[in-house]
């Protein structure tokens, strides 16, 4: 097919954009304290990047870049990270998700640390779920 030739422009542009997108996702992830954004949005943007890659270069290419096996680990991992922070708080003698306990001397720093970890957990799970949902749908059409 000459499909691929027709889409040269699309391929080049996408390849150019992709690093920006992933970088932007990281930015949103860690800039959430100061501006709009946070783990959830970052996860979605990251997933969108992978989706773009999959759309343009095919599912298998995407699956090589980010194998489904990883996703199956990352998905529960993010949730465990979030819930684990809470358990850590309990072990440190506070209520569940009481981030103040994370830093014995400076509760505000504890809060920052807690929010950072928790948002990371959100981001990981969301990105993994979104990508794996996309994979699942695309995978279905292979017949």
């Amino acid at each position: 097919m000459k499909l691929r030739e027709e889409q040269t422009i699309l391929r080049i542009v996408s390849k150019l954009l992709l690093p920006f997108i992933l970088l932007f996702a990281l930015y949103v992830q860690f800039h959430g304290d100061y501006g709009p954004g946070g783990g959830f949005q970052a996860g979605v943007i990251f997933a969108t990047g992978i989706v773009l890659y999959g759309l343009v270069f095919g599912l298998e290419a995407a699956e090589t870049a980010l194998p489904p096996r990883w996703l199956q680990v990352l998905m529960p991992l993010g949730l465990l990270l979030y819930a684990g922070v809470g358990v850590a708080n309990i072990l440190l003698g506070g209520e569940y998700l009481n981030y103040n306990t994370l830093d014995a001397h400076d509760p505000v720093h504890g809060q920052h640390l807690g929010i950072l970890l928790v948002e990371l957990g959100v981001g990981i799970t969301v990105a993994a779920v979104m990508v794996s949902v996309f994979y699942a749908f695309s995978d279905r059409g292979k017949d």
């Binding site: 529960p76 949730l79 819930a83 809470g86 309990i90 003698g93 506070g94 569940y96 998700l97 009481n98």
Partner: protein, 503 residues
């Protein structure tokens, strides 16, 4: 403070977090038997925690737990009173008893590579249900309601027939509408009170009770909860969902989902609002009672006409939901106690019946069970037949079964409030129950005729689960004073007059 005492203080959170942690671990573990064992342990752990909490709460009263250390109403509060701890015990008990027997049945009905996901979904459903019960925050309730609902949709869809998918979809659409209605209701309430904490809401509501906004909020909350509860006429999703779900999942659904929805309804109409408030210019109890009566009669009637056992049981559940709603619509302590007790009793009875059906299906294969397929059951699986009979008698409300006690309590509450028509309806519904139960029993004892069915009893795990549930059923029927006392105390707390309430 010792570590143990410290841990005791954290139990309200651990109750919900335990299955929440176990679910992702299940996904990571992947080995079916391991995952099953983990789920069983988790649900038993939840049961243990619930019982420990009950031992604290029944003598000492409400426990408030501030999530994240933020005092309510600024953070999310877990607020456990007698009713919620009662429900915690019911849910975790039903989940443990069903899960113990689930291994073989699930193995037979679900593809091997999805079993660990299925158990994870079950645990998430448990998480959601326990979270709904524990929380004192209206929005948090919505979130956990959606966790429970989403996992339930997925579980229903895992049924073997293709109709399971359609049933799950129907459930999803209606469930989401219900959830969104609750979201609207919570939003309107938030608008009028400025808070999300249910306790705080209840305190700030009386001055604005006359506003149409507050009344509409109640209407939305009730409709939303009724959708999740499958109260007639919002019931259409339930028969299909129960019929086509994997058989052990039907047992879980029957024991947990609608019960938790009933709890949500009770929370809304008594925990936030109070049906007895005179400022409440809505004929809400009458409407609820009428719907309940309609459900009792119509659903029982439909159940009588069913040919498929799970569907029959599903319609019977709809009728039993009617009992629960009828009790709570009375707005009396006795009525609410009867409802609460019936939540427990019906959970045990129906779970037992569905597990027994699962046992039959395990030996027979297939995914639906026609009444005619039961022929010869009493010879091949006499113990399972006995369990089905015990459960059926419980549904009718024969003395010495759990069903009798709650029916007795409900009758008494109805007579106390002088609503003789409802008494008549309750009795009529019981009579219809006699008919549909008897159709099952007759089918079980019918001779096989020319067909030769080779059957033997289900594997030990399933039997264990069945007999634990039947034993619970009989125990609750014989020694129901403790259950009744707990239910009465629970309803008493909920109806206790609080300051500033315009009665």
């Amino acid at each position: 403070m010792t570590g143990l005492a410290l841990l005791l203080e954290q139990l309200p959170a651990l109750q919900v977090v335990l299955p929440l942690l176990a679910a992702p671990v299940c996904v990571l573990l992947r080995r079916p038997n391991l995952v099953w064992a983990l789920s069983c342990l988790t649900s038993l752990g939840c049961l243990g925690i619930a019982l420990t909490l009950a031992r604290q709460i029944y003598p000492h009263g409400v426990i408030s737990y501030a999530m994240g250390g933020w005092a309510p109403p600024f953070g999310i509060e877990y607020r456990l009173d007698e009713l919620s701890v009662f429900m915690l015990v019911v849910v975790s008990l039903a989940a443990s008893l069903v899960l113990i027997g689930a291994r073989q049945s699930i193995q037979r009905e679900i593809p091997a590579d999805r079993i660990h996901l299925l158990y994870a979904a079950v645990l998430l459903m448990l998480t959601g249900s326990l979270g709904i019960i524990s929380t004192g925050d209206a929005f948090n309730l919505f979130v956990f309601l959606e966790i429970a609902s989403l996992s339930t949709y997925a579980l229903v869809a895992m049924g073997r027939q293709r109709r399971a998918l359609v049933a799950a979809f129907q459930y999803l659409v209606l469930g989401t509408i219900g959830g969104t209605f609750i979201l609207i209701g919570v939003g309107l309430l938030y608008m009028m009170t400025g808070t999300l904490n249910m306790q705080d809401m209840a305190e700030r509501l009386p001055p604005v009770l006359h506003t149409t906004t507050a009344l509409a909020a109640l209407a939305f909350l009730v409709i939303g909860a009724a959708l999740k509860l499958a109260l007639l006429p919002l019931h259409i999703w339930l028969p299909n969902a129960y019929t086509f779900a994997p058989s052990m999942i039907s047992a879980l659904l029957a024991a947990i989902s609608t019960k938790v929805a009933a709890y949500v309804l009770i929370r809304f109409v008594y925990g936030i609002y109070d049906l007895r408030w005179s400022g409440l210019n809505l004929p809400l109890n009458d409407v609820l009672a009428l719907l309940a009566v309609a459900a009792m009669l119509f659903a029982s009637y439909v159940a009588v006409r069913q040919q498929e056992v799970k569907r029959l049981l599903a319609w019977s559940s709809l009728a039993q939901i009617g009992y629960i709603v009828l009790g709570l619509s009375l707005a009396t302590s006795a009525g609410l106690a009867a409802s609460t007790l019936h939540i427990l009793n019906h959970a045990v009875i129906k779970a037992g019946l569905f597990v027994a059906v699962a046992a039959v299906l395990f030996r027979q294969g297939g995914s639906t069970l026609q009444l005619a397929d039961l022929a010869g059951l009493s010879r091949g699986m006499p113990w399972t037949t006995a369990a089905i009979i015990a459960g059926g008698l419980g549904l009718i409300g024969v003395p010495l079964t759990a069903g009798f006690v709650s029916k007795w309590a409900l009758l008494q509450a109805l007579i106390e409030s002088g609503t003789w028509l409802y008494v008549a309806a309750l009795l009529a519904s019981s009579l219809l129950a006699v008919i549909y139960v008897w159709r099952i029993i007759e089918a079980c004892t019918a001779s096989t005729g020319d067909r030769d069915i080779q059957r033997r009893e289900a594997p030990l795990g399933l039997q264990l689960s069945i007999w634990a549930l039947v034993a619970m059923n009989l125990y609750l029927g014989i020694n129901s004073s403790p259950g009744m006392r707990l239910a009465t105390e629970a309803s008493g707390r909920l109806l206790a007059p609080t300051a500033g309430v315009p009665l």
